[in-house]
């Protein structure tokens, strides 16, 4: 009976248009990249910065914009439309932290914001550090041994 039920559930499961989502994410993600490059060029030419420093300021700009738009309440609607296109770049990381901070502001600075701000981003940081360590070790051993 359970098998038949799975069939009924499957029959009434609407198809998600994955190709469309992928194309939208590709285009929006590309657009974010393009905007980043434009910002770097502007920073390099206007503020007389090295390309490395300019990339840093570009990232800070993106984090600021994503956080501001989240606080103003419309960034989540953009993310729902653009999906991975806005979630994978640094904008998604900033969005996850700001939204968590906003959500828990009523519980106070310690038990609210402080302990919940990494609710979503914590996994990214933790596994980012772990994988950086693993790949760093591989690279180090490669250089020592080869």
């Amino acid at each position: 009976m359970n098998k038949k039920y799975e069939e009924i559930v499957f029959l009434h499961k609407p198809k998600e248009n994955k190709l469309k989502y992928a194309i939208v994410a590709f285009l929006v993600g590309g657009l974010v990249g393009l905007l980043g490059e434009v910002l770097i060029r502007i920073y390099v030419s206007c503020f007389d910065l090295s390309r490395n420093d300019a990339s840093l300021y570009m990232i800070i700009t993106f984090i600021f914009m994503a956080s501001l738009f989240t606080a103003l309440g419309f960034f989540d609607k953009l993310v729902v439309k653009a999906k991975a296109g806005l979630l994978i770049p640094i904008t998604g990381f900033a969005h996850s932290m700001t939204s968590a901070a906003l959500d828990y502001k009523n519980e106070g600075p310690i038990f609210g914001i402080g302990s919940n701000v990494f609710k979503l981003a914590g996994s990214v940081i933790f596994y980012g550090v772990v994988s950086a360590w693993i790949f760093g070790m591989i690279r180090y051993l490669w250089e020592v041994l080869v």
Partner: protein, 331 residues
């Protein structure tokens, strides 16, 4: 087992809703609407949910011309941890209080308990209330409210509102005929974004048992309503009734989750409404009005609830479900 009630009547009901419900097709039927503010003029979403329920209790007392000291028993439930919304909202009533929980099946569970108390002569009247808030449930069960996580089309949207109903032994236009307390079922479902598929078997189980034990047919009722199966769950429920029990549901069947919103225009609600207040908003505004105006003679209300917590979902446990049923009749 069918609970038969000889002397229980539905006196009146009240509904208060948030912006999404107000702009839905039933918007004009609600007693009070917070049209553009999910905070309902409060500082937090949790406080907003309490206010929605408090408002609905106040409106109901005004409608029934009763004082809170006239109420013998208050039964309330909601979705939040330790059903805090119900407790805070009921504080000012200063009445004996029973807190209950079967997720989105709470409203009918409350009516069944209240009817049993009244029919046994223990109390003369009882107030049954429930609430939910889209943002408080998002925060508790899913992601932060401002986080734009993409959801599949089968996901449902927790309704925002507070709803209450007064049952009494004083004869009125609507009689509570009988009801059935649901059984917990497990159909091996794990997808928290497809609650329709989780709850449809519970609804089918309850409806089949009720029809069998009362020896009635689907056609004997003017309306059969499930609580919050949503667009896809509704179809699963129909197919399951046909396949398991050979019962065909016709045009007298509908789902409150589908009725509460305009699914073509309000795209953000995806497959439809959910939450304890979803079925309560539809039943207490539109269906009770229909019974009072003799539009319907006899209706079956089935509220469906998914029994889980975020922790059981992360631990990959199956999501359980339950459905409670009550039969109302216009006299």
């Amino acid at each position: 087992m069918i609970l038969n009630f000889r002397n229980v009547y539905l006196d009146n009901a009240s509904t208060v809703c948030g912006p999404y419900e107000a702009s839905g097709p039933l918007g004009k039927n609600f007693d009070k609407k917070y049209v553009d503010d999910l905070y309902c003029k409060e500082k937090s979403f949790e406080k907003a949910e309490v206010r929605l329920l408090e408002d609905s209790l106040k409106i109901l007392l005004r409608k029934t011309k009763l004082k809170s000291s006239d109420i013998d028993l208050v039964i309330a439930g909601d979705l939040l941890n330790q059903i805090t919304s119900s407790c805070y909202a009921s504080l000012k009533l200063n009445c004996p209080f029973l807190g209950i929980y079967t997720a989105c099946a709470t409203s009918i569970e409350g009516m069944l308990i209240a009817s049993t108390f009244i029919d046994s002569g223990k109390v003369n009247n009882a107030l049954v209330a429930c609430s939910s808030h889209n943002m408080t449930s998002e925060k508790q069960f899913r992601n932060p409210t401002e986080y734009g996580s993409p959801k599949p089309k089968t996901a449902t949207f927790t309704a925002t509102g507070g709803a209450s109903v007064l049952l009494s032994n004083k004869p009125s236009k609507i009689r509570v005929v009988n009801g059935l307390i649901g059984t917990i079922v497990d159909y091996n479902q794990k997808d928290a974004f497809n609650m329709g598929a989780v709850m449809a078997p519970a609804a089918a189980d309850t409806l089949y048992k009720y029809l069998k034990e009362t020896d009635t047919k689907v056609e004997d009722y003017d309306l059969i309503l499930t609580g919050d199966l949503g667009l896809y769950g509704k179809e699963i429920f129909k197919d399951l009734m046909k396949y398991n029990y050979n019962i065909k549901l016709g045009s007298n069947y509908n789902d409150c989750g589908v009725m509460l919103y305009n699914l073509d225009e309000q795209k953000e609600v995806l497959a439809g409404g959910s939450g304890p207040v979803c079925s309560a908003l539809v039943n207490y505004s539109t269906i009770i009005k229909g019974l009072m105006e003799d539009k319907y003679k006899k209706v079956l209300l089935i509220a469906t609830g998914a029994l889980f917590s975020p922790i059981t979902v992360y631990q990959k446990e199956n999501i359980l479900s339950i459905a409670n049923l009550i039969c109302l009749e216009a006299i």
